[in-house]
């Protein structure tokens, strides 16, 4: 079995997609996961310190 096949075998994709359904909102689990990752990345980008950045106090 090739390396790609072994990685693919970790997640069984041989089934219909899973969906989250709440009132009129319907979203696939895959899309919900991507949206969550985007929001998380956005928050981390705002809060994580940038390498080599000096604080405002140091700049003064």
């Amino acid at each position: 079995m090739s390396w790609f096949n072994s990685v693919g075998a970790l997640i069984n994709l041989d089934h219909p997609g899973h969906f989250l359904h709440w009132h009129f909102i319907q979203v696939s689990v895959a899309n919900a996961l991507v949206m969550t990752l985007m929001v998380a990345t956005f928050v981390v980008a705002l809060l994580a310190p940038f390498p080599g950045r000096r604080s405002r106090k140091e700049n003064r």
Binding site: V34, M38, V44, A45, L46, F50, R53
Partner: protein, 208 residues
């Protein structure tokens, strides 16, 4: 005294371009200190992903659908094309959120914001025609679902999502051309006006 050479459109255009965008502004050596934040990296991430999208798209165009459906390397390049598009949209939307909350249209940057908005919409259309051009069951499903929506807008008469040839031409010629030209304009506008400062540094920029 104005000479004939001064009145030429080439001379006038060159002088205007040099005035608006001198080399040190086009390719600057330094950036303001506020740019050293992770929220500023998503624009260039989008640009890098776009380059991979274009490069892999060119390879797919050279060898064609039979190759990308049947050979291992074709599958690999096809996957690279898909995943670079995923990264492209992922980074572009975070870039959009960041710029929205910075109100990045401030300081005469309306055109920068608007070119970004139009590029985003063009990219969505490019991605949609890409899904319609896969030539597999997925594209059949997507196009048969989309046709009713498109027809309800009245655009179906000239934009037929069930016409694979038409969707492929839109996907590999017209829309990428528009997306690349708009992206180039957007980047040039950023270079002309500079990166938008945070609200706290706005007065510093205005004083310059």
């Amino acid at each position: 005294m104005t000479t004939e050479i001064d009145r030429q459109w080439t001379t006038r255009l060159r002088r205007r371009a040099e005035g608006k965008l001198p080399p040190e502004k086009l390719l600057p050596d330094t950036q303001p200190s506020y740019v050293s934040s992770w929220i500023y990296v998503f624009g260039v991430t989008t640009l890098a992903a776009l380059m991979v999208v274009i490069a892999t798209g060119c390879v797919l165009a050279i060898f064609g659908p039979q190759w990308w459906h049947t050979s291992s390397f074709g599958h690999f390049v096809n996957s690279l094309h898909l995943w670079s598009v995923e990264i492209f949209f992922f980074a572009m939307v975070i870039h959009l959120w960041g710029k929205f909350f910075m109100a990045s249209w401030r300081g005469g940057r309306t055109l920068t914001w608007m070119t970004g908005v139009v590029t985003f919409l063009t990219s969505i259309a490019t991605a949609f025609t890409g899904y319609a051009s896969q030539s597999n069951f997925d594209s059949q499903w997507i196009t048969t679902q989309a046709k009713d929506g498109i027809n309800s807008t009245g655009a179906g008469a000239i934009f037929n999502v069930l016409n694979l040839g038409q969707m492929l031409m839109w996907h590999i010629v017209l829309l990428p051309l528009a997306a690349v030209v708009l992206t180039a304009l957007h980047v040039l506008m950023v270079r002309v006006k500079g990166v938008v400062p945070p609200f706290a540094d706005e007065k510093v920029e205005a004083a310059r």
